[in-house]
Amino acid sequence: MIGAWRLERRTEPSRTATALAPLAAIAFTLLVCAALVAWAGAPIGQTYALLFDGAFGSRFAISETLTRATPLILTGLACAVAFRARLFNIGAEGQLYLGALAAVAVGGMHGGEALDWPMPVLFAAMMAAAALAGAVWLLIPALMKAKLGVDEVVTTLLGNFIVLLIVSMMLDGPMKDPMAMGWPQSVALASDLELGKLIERTRAHTGLLWAAGLAVVVWLVNRYTVFGFRMRAVGANAHASKFLGLPVTRVMIGTALLSGALAGLAGAIEVAGRTSYVTLDMSPGYGYSGVVVAMLAALHPLGVVAAAVFVAGVLVGADSMSRAIAVPNYIADVIVATALLSMLVAMLFSQYRLRRMGAA
């Protein structure tokens, strides 16, 4: 049985297969999850219709999806950039929270007063602080990987738990909002710093433009700069890159700084665009979903935008669907996880084909 078939590398990746892979993966995912919907006792067609309607069916639905997609684009980019260079940053969740915390530390109302700086300077300082916070947090595991050979997946994962406790500590202590009636939330951001609305009378904000703009910037960096080339080279083969004289450690550090900064910005943009203060539940796992977004986009920065809108649509649509019908909204996470795994398999088959072994 096992071994009767074998995978054989295609001489060149099949273009049709590459193009069809995401569609096949999504079709397979919807099929698998249909079984779960049936188990929950709901009509499958209606459930999916409600899910789609809740994600894209109205002006409000679209605005909610775009609001959710904004941080996902940034965490997705953070993961895509890092994964390209074989730095497995699974800590975007923590970097996002630290970015949010840094944003409020710089741009928040402390004792009712914001820093007395000109608005554009304060805004720039807020964004820079958030990017820096995320970058420095990822720098620690990146250095441990480069200098000591410590696997970064586990260290970045464990870092997420540490950050949440740091945030909880800050919200209990120095950054607690005294006006919040005992709720664990931080002081609010100065209202001048809040991002404008993208669509009137909705929550969609101009952070989306920032995120999409950064996706283009990352794509340009990847494609047209020496640093982008080096990142890809190190990711493709670190040993060969070292042999060729590329500064592998420096490239890895640079990648970590870029990746952490993007995830940190996700936190600042969430605060400036949506929540205006930090809470312990401000991210429903945007960092972890960022991993999926990056993989669904096959690590392509522009693909990240599309993948983020898809994942955001699933999350928003499932929330709205589960309010209307008895299917728990955890179906969204199942869909996202199944999509990730089936996308991996689909992409594999654009590079390999299954071949039946001979009679031997």
Partner: protein, 311 residues
């Protein structure tokens, strides 16, 4: 002084061994997979699935040992999925593992909500009883007596797995597959079968590790109840240099500090924010990785997919 009193009380050691139990089982599970050359980051989700499925079986009327068995089977099935993706298809072990974690935990939460749509307080079961008939044994009696049979199982699993790895032909084959799969293949061993077997068995242990939380430590299933314990097990395997005996020592040491922080948190009158104490386990795991990484003798083929006839 206070700390000294603490170390003299049996209650402290009972708590420590209880905290260590899921870590021992989970670490052994990761160890089996990695010895065969496959990283299994599915552990965090597999533990959730084990905790949920074991608990559900008992809630539906199965005896407790059957609940443990169900958790093992469910864990093994998710392991099989990881094995198909990584061993047969050669996908990235990192990404596949994370995917399995996401799938296993979200499926568990989904199934929980489908089974109990409206309940506010989690339904409870009667967990394993403590083994107070062991209280009479000198010195270790009071500590073992405060445990459930699952802890005894975890403690016995350590020599069992050490024996399997170092004293049986299967164990030798398994280690060989993790070090040099091409050579193993040359000896007529099936890399694919051995790796799949190791992942399924290791994942079954992870499932049991999760079920300890619902069937022994607590009497209900909660969201986020695994809370990073799986990732800590992955760190502990590095700390243990992939040896079962050291895995036990690592898990116990780790649990010692965790139990200590719990007591300090209760006794020291909030000299530090409680979050600092809660951070200790995660920081310790990272430190363990840093300290041991230098001398870590990784199984040579770890994280390298193996395809016949391809380099």
């Amino acid at each position: 002084m206070e700390t000294l009193d603490l170390l003299g009380s049996a209650a402290f050691w009972v708590a420590m061994l209880r905290i260590a139990t899921p870590l021992i089982l989970g670490t052994l599970g990761v160890l089996l997979c990695e010895r065969a050359g496959v990283l299994n980051l599915g552990i965090e989700g597999i533990m959730v699935a084990g905790a949920f499925s074991g608990w559900l079986a008992v809630y539906l009327g199965a005896p407790l040992p059957v609940g443990v068995l169900v958790a093992a089977v469910v864990g093994g099935l998710f392991g099989l999925l990881h094995a198909v993706l990584t061993v047969m298809l050669g996908l990235s072990q990192h990404v596949s593992g994370l995917g399995v974690t996401m799938l296993a935990s979200s499926l568990s939460y989904f199934a929980y909500r489908v089974s109990f749509p409206k309940v506010e307080t989690p339904p409870t079961i009667t967990p394993f009883a403590e083994m107070h008939w062991l209280d009479g044994i000198p010195i270790i009696g009071p500590v073992l007596g405060g445990q459930t049979p699952m802890t005894l199982f975890a403690l016995l699993a350590v020599p069992a797995i050490a024996w399997l790895l170092y004293r049986t032909p299967v164990g030798l084959a398994l280690r060989m597959v993790g070090e040099n799969p091409a050579a193993a293949e040359g000896q007529g061993l099936s890399v694919t079968r051995l790796r799949i077997g190791a992942i399924v068995a290791g994942s079954a242990l992870m499932g049991v590790a999760g079920s300890f939380l619902t069937l022994s430590a607590f009497n209900a299933f909660f969201f986020n109840m695994i809370n990073g314990r799986g990732w800590i097990c992955v760190a502990l395997v590095v700390f243990a240099s992939w040896r079962p005996g050291k895995a036990l020592a690592g898990a116990l040491l780790f649990a010692f500090f965790d139990a200590l922080q719990l007591r300090l948190q209760q006794s020291s009158g909030a000299s530090l924010p409680y979050q600092v104490y809660l951070m200790i386990p995660y920081i310790l795991s990272i430190l363990a990785l840093v300290v041991m990484a230098r001398r870590a003798a990784y199984p040579q083929a770890l994280m390298k997919p193996y395809r016949k006839g391809e380099r």
